[in-house]
Every structure is written in structure tokens, then in C-alpha cells.
Symmetry: D3
């Protein structure tokens, strides 16, 4: 099978990250995965949500949005509609959950890190690019706390990155662009750590189903691709900061 952009089934798109893209946020990165572009900012606030008050631990949460022309046709703003759609809520819950899996919330202390993922161009894989980018923004923000003497070390013990895999016209492929995504029979988002453990696996066969064998082949592709993403993250963060996150 020929992929629409000539890639091999197991080949991810080029990934670029511009750290400190925003001058106000405690941490920020512009992540580009092919033509998908997401601004990720990390905000640190010295407060926690009500359900954590007084428990001595922190919180990591995320919000996700797209500008109207991130997409091929204009998408109506959720602020204009007056409510968040189900897809948005699903994605922002996913991003927050994924990042929390490697953060030591007790060591973070009574602080909230909010990751804002604003998609300025969407060519497939925006939620996984958001996770991969938000991880870097979060580490940069936490490193600033270390530099300011507010934390002894970054309270994170592993890398987190994510990619999509799917079955397109019968072939399992990785990192689907929008054209592939709309044609896919099976769509799976995988979030993994740098040490190769799963954080989230969300496989969906809308109007289709998939076998255990197919699932295994998709997970193999994802595992390999995420290791490449971890390498880019390591490079962007630099060896000094990455040291505490283990080998990737």
C-alpha cells in the first residue's frame, strides 16, 4: 500500500519542537508533527482544585482547543456555542490523565500545572501531538521551579509521548494524517512511557471491528514510533534536564 504522503507504514512524520515559544508561560513549546501544529503552554499556580485542598499534593490538568481555521472548513468556536463539545472534553481529560501518570503529585506540592494545548493547524493526530508537546512544556515549567529553588528536583520519573496508529485500507500504519484518519477502519491512540509501559490505549473500530492479531500489530507499530518521539523530546529538553527521566 502506498501512503498518501509516501511514508512507509511504520514511519512517523517529521517532528519539530520550538521550546519557550511563548514569553509569558512558565513552560511552552510549539510542536509540529507534519502539518499538525499545536501551541502547548504550561501554567503553574500555587493552588489546587477543591477536592485536593489540604492533602499536600498537587494536580496536573489540561485544556484543548482549536482555532476555527485549524481545519479545512471553518469550525464554529466552542466559546460562541457556549459549551464544550464531547470530543474536546474527551481529549482534555486524556491529556491530563496521561501526564499525571508519571508525575509524583506529592512531590509537586500544593500546586496546579495547567497544560493548554491550542491547535493552530490540524492535519490528524492533534491529541497525540498535544500530549507529546505538553509533556515538554510541563517539564520546562517544572525545571523553572527547580531553578527558582521551589522544588528540589523535577518530580517526574519517566517520559510520556503519544501517537496514533490505525488500519487504513487493510494495512496497519502509524501517525495517520487527516486524509488517512478519515479513511481508517480502525483508529487507535497510544500513550506510552519512555520505559515502554502503556499509559492509555484507546482503540476504536467505528462501523468496523478488529481482531486480537490486528491489535498486536498496531501496538508494535506504536511502541516503535513512541521511542522515536521520546528521542526528540530528550533532544529538546537537553541531557541535563532529561537525566532524571530515565533512558529512552
Amino acid at each position: 500500500m502506498e501512503r498518501v504522503d509516501g511514508r512507509k507504514p511504520g514511519q512517523i512524520r517529521p517532528v519539530f519542537m520550538t521550546p519557550n515559544y511563548n514569553k509569558y508561560a512558565e513552560g511552552s513549546v510549539l510542536i509540529e508533527v507534519g502539518d499538525t501544529r499545536v501551541i502547548c503552554t504550561a501554567t503553574v499556580e500555587e493552588r489546587v482544585p477543591p477536592f485536593l485542598k489540604g492533602l499536600g499534593k498537587g494536580w496536573v490538568t489540561a485544556e484543548y482547543a482549536m482555532i476555527p481555521r485549524a481545519t479545512g472548513t471553518r469550525t464554529v468556536r466552542e466559546s460562541a456555542k457556549g459549551k464544550l463539545g464531547g470530543r474536546t472534553m474527551e481529549i482534555q481529560r486524556l491529556i491530563g490523565r496521561a501526564l499525571r501518570s508519571v508525575v509524583n503529585l506529592e512531590a509537586l506540592g500544593e500546586r496546579t500545572v495547567t497544560l493548554d494545548c491550542d491547535v493552530i493547524q490540524a492535519d490528524g493526530g492533534t491529541r497525540t501531538a498535544s500530549i507529546t508537546g505538553a509533556y515538554v512544556a510541563m517539564i520546562l515549567a517544572l525545571n523553572k521551579l527547580v531553578e527558582q529553588g521551589m522544588l528540589e528536583k523535577i518530580p517526574v520519573h519517566d517520559f510520556i509521548a503519544a501517537t496514533s496508529v490505525g488500519i487504513v485500507r487493510g494495512t496497519p500504519v502509524i501517525d495517520l494524517c487527516y486524509a488517512e484518519d478519515s479513511a481508517a477502519e480502525v483508529d487507535m491512540n497510544v500513550v506510552m512511557t519512555g520505559t515502554g509501559r502503556f499509559v492509555e490505549v484507546q482503540g476504536t473500530g467505528e462501523e468496523a471491528t478488529f481482531s486480537r492479531d490486528e491489535m498486536n500489530r498496531l501496538l508494535d507499530l506504536a511502541t516503535a514510533g513512541i521511542q522515536e518521539l521520546n528521542k526528540v523530546q530528550r533532544q529538546v529538553l537537553g541531557e541535563r534536564i532529561s537525566a532524571g527521566m530515565g533512558q529512552v
Copy 2:
């Protein structure tokens, strides 16, 4: 490991379904999975959502809600809050997607089947019980269309059922009750067909991660449990109606 209610790791809770529980709906069932109870009704309407108008195919969608005291402490109504929460949206999107995977929407014609899943008591696994029950309510409603001569045959080619699996204190178990669910390190919802193919796999390690091996063990448990649920569905629907859905 002793489970909180004495079950074995691979043992699902007792499942009962009361078909035609509601006198108005085209199809309905009260499903009880242990102490979890969900009223599932299927409504057939001779119209489709705007994005399908004139395409000659139908739609299957779902809504999900809990009464305030479905839970141990009272949950504020989403109607009073004025908006649906992220969890609700995630669940109702999941139920709709799961059921659509086995429905031939062209054969359904320009009709919408809406599955309403109202949880009246929640002891874990409400989303998977909703899928298992909604499937039965949908088949009953479609069978009524067949009896009324509006469809030649039920446009569904397989069974659909769902269960949760997870890792509780290190042990993979199936069909977690609320007490287990709150203590689980890994939580996975699996939707499968009667022929053993996956429709959805959603595995989550909130503040934890899981290995490929653990994932495989969870999928084994789910596969076996869902076959049992398919048998109960077959029994409730009867052989005549179930015939077209294949063996389970």
C-alpha cells in the same frame, strides 16, 4: 487475592435483564449487573441527523445519565448544572459508536435509533452494562420494525457486549464493582462482538502504567467474560430473534 464480594478474578457478577420494562419505548430492558441497574430504552424515529440527510442511511446514537442517588453520595443533576459533564459525553459517544459497529446503517434506512441508558443504581461498570443492555433494547426495537413490515430483517449481523477489566492490587480481575474500581491501578473497558472481534478497547492507568503482558492478560479475561454476556443476551432475545446475529 480475595475479591471484595468473594468472586474469582475471572468471574463476572450475576446478570439479569428484564425485557420490555417500559411500556412506551419501541424496545427496552432493565439490566442488572450485580447491584448496577440501568434502564435502557430504544426509540425509533423516522428522521436522521442533518449530516445524514438524503444519504439513504440511518443512525444509531445514545444518551447516558444517572439519577442523583444512583451513587453513594448525591450527584448534582446535569440538567441543574446546565451542561453535560465530560464523563457523560465520553460514555454516550462510546455507547453509540459501539452499537453502530454491527448495524448495517444502509439497511436501517433513514431512521434514527436513540438508546437512552438511565442508571438508577451504580455499583461500577455502568458504561459497559449500558452497552450490553442497550444492544438488547435496540434489537427488540428493530425486531418490532420487522414485525410491522417496515424492515425485512434486523439489520444487525453480530452481538455486542461489554465489560470492564482491571488490575486491583496487582491482580487482573473482571467486572469491577465500585469498591474495586476506586482502588484499581489499571482500568480497561472492552467492547466485543459475539464473534470475538474488538470494537473498543480503552485501557487507562491513571497515576500508573501497565505492561504489554498485563494488557494481554486483561484482554484474555474480557474475551471470556463477554462470551458469557452474549449468552445471556441470546437467552433474553430468544433463538428466533438471535438467529441472524451468528453463533456466540
Copy 3:
């Protein structure tokens, strides 16, 4: 005049109540009045609304909802619409007001009892069935407080029940089912105590009017019917609990 279900003008429908229908609520009952079915749960919380803070008295309030297929055609959820309709607000204000009329709020102490009335099948008279059922759920919850030593006695001095009366094709009748209700010229909801005093009388002649004589005949019917409902309540609660509520 023949009533649609063969009843006599002054005959109420069969009434069943299943106490403790819900395992989590402090008090609960499933009330069935003919084909009308309402789950009533009572939640006790150790707090009062802001306008009562520090006044040493409690509060009783109610919420009311219908599942979408409680009705002949599917009703859109108020949570999906994002706001409560006027009818819902009117009904839940009525239920709360009715119950408060026999509760000694000072004796209740700084607590709130919330009655949730969730209609799972609606065949007329859902608001009056909600009142009759919510009364029982409330008493069961308050009795639990007595058993736990948090109250010396149930702070309620009388029974409360409700029914509808109306004029259908010229004849005054009691406890209208949906078919009668839609055809009624005059519709009246009456809430009374066990000692025969009025709590609420809401008579409405939409696109019609009624004379003082007709009003009197309707009140006579309601008075007799509510006494029967009080007897069912007494039976469900048992003599020991009912003792403090006076004779009915």
C-alpha cells in the same frame, strides 16, 4: 360516562409502593400509580442553603425529572437542552413546598433533605404521585436519623398525599390517566394532610372555566381519594413509624 380504563369517577388507580428501592439513599420508594412509576429518593445532608445558615433550622427541597421515554414519544433531556423547563421548575417547587408544610424545620436541625423524584413511566399524575411517594421516602430517611440517635423523633406531625381531579367531558373524576388528562376541560391538583387540611389547591381551566359548584365537587373527590392514599402510606411505613403522624 365510561372512563377509559373502566374506573368509576371517584376511583383512584391501584397504588403500590416498594420501600428501600435504592440501596444508597437514606430513604427511597418506588411508587406506582396505575402505569405511572416514580423513583423517589431522600438524601440527608448536614448543611443548609445559604439563606438559612446559622438560623438553627433545616430545609426540605425537591427535584423532579423524567427519563426520555417515560412518555409516549421521546422527550429531549433537560440536561441536553442545558436548562430546566418551566413545567419542571413548577413541579419541583410544588413538591418541596408541599412536604415542608408538615415538617418542623427547627426540630430537623441544620440539615437538608432533598427529595429526588425521577419518573420512569408517565401515565398522568406524575407530580401528585411524586408528592405521595416523596413523603414516604422522606419519612424513611428521617426515621433512619432517629435510629442513629441523631433525632429524638421524626419531626413531622401529619401525613401528606396528593392526587389530581378534573372535569372530563363534563364529569368530575379523580386520578386522571394520561388519556383523560389530555382531554380534560379542568385540571386540579390537590395536596392534603392526613387530617384533611389543604396544603395546595391548583385548579386550572386551560381554554375553559369552571364554576364554584364544579370546584366543590372536585374538592370532595380529592378529599376522599387522598384518604385512601394516606392509608397506603400508613401501611408501607408501618404502625410504629406512622404513630407520630396522627390518625388518617
Copy 4:
């Protein structure tokens, strides 16, 4: 018992109506009942709500609001809160229902008359003053349709007016001002026609109850008071317009 403003138990407050108070509305009146002041405007539109489309009949509906300082302390605007309160909905449903009871909707034709009742000063009895005033605004608007040749005659066959009655410190009184209303044990709103038939009776004993005897005395007071209100309406509308509404 001395009433707070020296009135006798059966004495209503002075009533003034300024017809054509607004230069744009098809019909309008400023009604003053004591210190209660309501601007009532009637708008005629050549369309009906969706549920009446193509049925050849019209509709009469109402909306009700208060300016923030209509009340002793400032009330937050419902537009600022983003939703209508239960009290507002209850009142506007009541006004619409009351007026429809004497309108021949078929003779009105496919038109909607919207009555807007804006309370600019509230000293008790705002909902009943709204009904009494809205009736006059509606008749003025319908009369304009007759003058323009769009209707042959005003499609209304009777007067409608409303007042409140209640039990204050044991004494049944009519037309309660705010100070009386807040102290009342029983509160009843009565809407009647010019021919002495009831349209609505809403009696409420919040945290109190009332006997059949008390109810009868309240209805006697209301009947007499509403006849006086009908006379003022007749005077404001003039004999020519009032002719078709019967004697009062």
C-alpha cells in the same frame, strides 16, 4: 385586625390604568395597584409557534420580568444570570393560560399575541396585576386589528381579572401588599371571568395548611374583588369595546 395600610379585609387597593402608555406596541397599559406598577404591552405577530403551524388558529402567550429595583433590595437580572428562575416561568405560564381561557383562538387566526408584563415597582400582587393589565393591553391590540379590518370582531367573549387573597394573622384578606404577603399563612391567587367563573385557583399554605371553610371565605373575598377590577377594565376600555365581553 388592623391592616398595615388601614384597609378593610375585603377592600382592594386603588387601581389606575393608563392605556396606550407605549407608542410602539399594538396595545399597552400601565397598571397601578397601590404601589405595584406594571407596564403591559401586547404585540401582534403574523405567525404562530411551531406546534400550531397550519392548524388555522392563533396563540396568546406572556412574558414577565421585574427591573432590578422593582424590589426593596436589588434583584439580580435574569439576563445576567443567564436563565429564567422558576418563579418567573410559573408566572408567565399562568398569565398566558389565564388570557387564553376567554380567547377564541380559531377566530384569532394564525397570529400570536405576546403580552409582556414588566414590573417597574413591586408591592405585592404583581402576577395578578399583570393579568388584569395584560387583559386590557390585549383587548386594545385586538381592537386595533378590528379597526384595520383584519378581524371582524374582537375574538374574546368575557373579561378576565385576577387578585390575591390570603390569611394574615388568622384573618382572610384581599389584595395583599408586600408587607402582608410576607407575613401570610395562606396565599391564594384567583383568576376569574366577568361572569364569575374560575379560570385559575392557586392556593398555597407554605409551612401551613388551611381548611375547607377558610378556602370558601377566601374565594368569597376574591369573587367580590374581581368584580370591582372588571369595572375598572370596562371603564378604561370604554363601552363600545367592552360591549362584546358581556356584562360584569
Copy 5:
């Protein structure tokens, strides 16, 4: 050019103000500018918004609304739509800002003055009439605080009034009525102090533009007109109260 109502280009419409129009508000006025009528009430509350807590200074804010038939065709209520429109927000922000420019917020103390401007008839210039009227209502309310000994003197050092100017069929005119406003090429709202300084200048050429010369002629007209409005304000407030506001 002949103006629609025969006025000269620089002539404002007749202005009347009825002080203490409302019996509950701390200060109130009914302002009539031609057929435009606005009820302005001032509410004083002993609290400040969160962003001013503990800073020892007060706040002045405004809200603006129209009753549905203030306009030629009925305008849907913003409370029914569930949100404030952009025009409303723009206007109420403008009114608040305008009044704050002459109030010494430190001398006001930790109090909030809320100006409610409710338009009961709209014939152009409602926002400027609101400012001119709200100023008077505010001074009356502050004077009451002085009389009650809560303030030593009215903490306001100048008058504030506003008018509209615009270019209608090529001619600069002042105080546009609705018919002129809808036909204007350029529309400008000017808020000035009694000492002739600008507070706000908002000039707009929707689908048109204007030259520096035209702008100067509009500002000349506005300056003259606002002096007349100041005189009416001075007259309504009386010399004693007006004394501290400087000459006009």
C-alpha cells in the same frame, strides 16, 4: 436640510427628568429625551467586587436593558435568550466607565453603586440618555448617604452628561432620533464633564468614513448640547446638591 422632526442641526430634543420615580431605590430618575424614556435607579450596597476587596475604595457599575416593546418591533428578551448581547455589554461598560470618571472612589469607601438603566421606550440615543439620567440617580443616592451621615460630602467633583451626534445625509446634527440614527453615515457618542472635558468619544462610520474636519464639527455640536443637558441636571438636582459639582 430639514430634520425629520423639524429641529435645527444643533438643537437637542426636549429633556424631562422625574426624580425619585421609584420608591425603593436609593436614587432614581425617569429621563425622557424626546420619545426615549429610561428608568434609572441607583442602588448602594456595602460591598465591593472581589478585585477591590480590602483596598478601601468603592466601585460604580451599570446595567442596561430594554423592555421588549421599547422598540418598533418586539425584541426578544436577553433573559429568554440566556445571554447578554454584545450591544448590551458595550453599553453597560460605557455607562459605568463614564460615571466613574468623576467619582472619587476612595472617598466613596468600600461601597458599590449600581446604576440600572431600563429603557421603556427607545427612540434613539438610549445609551446617552442612560448616562445623563444615571448621573442624576447616582447623585441622589450619594446625597442620601450624606444625609444619613455615612458620607461627609458627595464624592463627585463634576457633572457628566452625554449625547449623540452624527452625519445625516451630509449634515452634522445632534441628538439623533431613531429615524435619523438608522440613516446616519457617521454616528458618534460623546460623554463630557460640566467643565467641558471629554470622558468618552466613540465615533463610528459603519460602511462609511469621516474626515478630521467632520469630526471637529461633530465635537463642536456635542460640546454645546451637553452644556444644555448639564443645565437640566443642575435644575433637577437643585443648587444645594449641585454646588460641589462646579459651574456648568
Copy 6:
């Protein structure tokens, strides 16, 4: 007076525009004015708002938003709050009005051009940068329609750009950065055409006032600065496209 960033009173910040910044939008530009950065996209749709249906003319409208960390501290998303704030509405109305002033809506035909201005970094002057950038995005989109043969020529006859001016510690200055803006006594936004005519002048003295002289000096500064902005626009669009917009 020394400006915070060393500029002279009449000196604007460096302005860069990256045309075609977004691959999906019909026209787009990233505009940078100092550290203020706004993504402007223009969407062309072959439909008009309801109030223009069938009138043979088009529409130009705008929306404005900021990502949460566009600002020094995180701003809550309006989509999460469920409604647009007054400031947002004011700004998006201003942008749309400003652009419409130079577009021939009849020549545009029954099309809507929507300008989305998404601020990704805010250092003062975001609304004026949005106008300046949105103008370029709009022209690029209209030029595409010309290239596709859907329009004969770009239906725009002049340039539009905007800047802020204000009085900071007594000195009139242009193009205020955030630090200056928060300290300004008077703040004025000016929108002008390339031929030096005003489109909008919005001058505000929050808690301050300004004289006619000061106003004149501010307008002089704005006029000069906007000519510079027009030159940058001309350069970005190129001579061929700019030809029809007149000299600047």
C-alpha cells in the same frame, strides 16, 4: 519622558506580517507588533446571515479570542466559562465594522468573509493589531476569489489599519505596550483608511478626562502611525494586489 522600551512618543513598534501562515484558510497572516502576536485567518463562505438573505450583497464579520497564556497570568477560556465576555464582543464588533467600511458588499456578492483573530501573545494593542492583520488576510482571501474567476476584482477601495494612542504620565504616545497601557490616563483606538479618513475613533478616559487639545494631539500621532502601517500592508500584499486600494 522615557518610554518603557526606549521608543519615542510617536514611534510604533516593529511590525512583521507572515502571509499565508495557515494552509487551510482562504487568506491568513501572522501579525507581530512588538511582542503582540495575532493569527488572522479569513474564511470565505457562499452564504450570508439571515438578515441579508436574498439582498444580493455580502457580509464581513470577525471573531476574536486569546489563548489562555497570551497574557501574563492565565486567562480562563471563554469556552470553559460558557459565554463571551463584554470585552471580546466589543472587540469583534469593532473589527467587523472597521473592515466593512472599505468593502463594497454588493460587489462581494452573497458571500460571507469571516475574520478570525486569535491572539497567541498579548503585549498591548491586540485589537488594533487584529484589524491591521485581518485587513491583509481579507485581501488575500478576496484575491484568491479573483484568481479563481469568482470575482472580477477585489471589491475593496482603500486600506484599513489601526493603532492605539494614549496619554501616559502626561505625554501623548502611540502604540502602547501592555506596561504603558495599564498606566495610561487616556486610551484611544483609531482606525483609519489609507486616504487618511477616520473609520473609528474610540477615546476613553477611565477615571480621567481629556481636553480637546489633547484629543487633537492624539489624533495627529495616530494619523502618522497608521500611514506607516499602511506601508507595511502594501509591502506584504505586493504592488499588483495593492494597486486597487489607492495610494497610501
